[in-house]
Symmetry: C2
Subunit: 144 residues, 2 copies
């Protein structure tokens, strides 16, 4: 279990502990609960949604600790934030480049793999030095 395995599902507490240690974060029960939740969901939750879920495992955890831990994980590069929902930042365990589709009816956020879309014409933007980019699509997810 190395940092390079981020993004795979972690089912064992041991994996989370190892991962936290590798990042120089002391693995407390609260932090373990947060990291196990956030690295195992693809739902792009807000901090308060994370709090709600983490409390199922760790009922006494405080709001400040969830915020602190999520921000710490962002700083260490284990998760990232996305600005795609109104009113709140969401946390994304997919730290590779990718695009997003937002279902406007449900609010659900779906990852679109990086290689599924190609953005042409960026070279023509002479005035801008692009550090990162993504396509954000909105609409409805088709029922199958």
């Amino acid at each position: 279990m190395t940092k390079s395995k981020i993004g795979l599902y972690l089912n064992k507490v041991n994996d989370s502990v190892t991962l936290l240690r590798e990042c120089g974060i002391q693995p407390t029960p609260q932090r373990i609960a947060v990291i196990e939740f956030i690295l195992n969901t693809r739902s792009h939750p807000s901090a308060d949604q994370a709090l709600e879920q983490v409390r199922l495992q760790c009922p006494t955890i405080s709001r400040a600790t969830v915020y602190n831990t999520l921000n710490l994980l962002v700083k260490k590069g284990l998760v990232r934030t996305q600005i795609i929902r109104e009113g709140t930042v969401v946390f994304d365990c997919n730290i590779n480049q990718h695009h997003h589709f937002i279902d406007e009816e449900t609010g659900n956020i779906y990852d679109i793999p990086w290689d599924q879309l190609e953005v042409k014409g960026k070279d023509r933007l002479k005035d801008f030095e692009i550090v990162e980019f993504q396509v954000i699509l909105r609409g409805r997810r088709k029922k199958k």
Copy 2:
């Protein structure tokens, strides 16, 4: 002066009055001040930034009126909101499709014309019915 001229700079109070009337909005001094500000800036301000600026012209206007008026203009289709800044919605007087570049140093938001970028591969997203999309780029604007 018709609704089709939205997006051009409005310098005369008369134009704003006409535009508001065309949308079925009674042109009060407060609403005129808001629309003159928001349709003449390309800076993608938040509601509170708009309040600050509008108060230079109309010092007694309340926060609620600025929020109400901006939301009314959105409902009438004169401006739109964008979710590209952390913590707050921004208002955009450019209601045509376009992309955005965010300067991460200054926070400035720049419009990228629709035809400067092309997004290929959308047809392959069989599970999704796309209503709208845009490319969001982040980085630094080059000094000239």
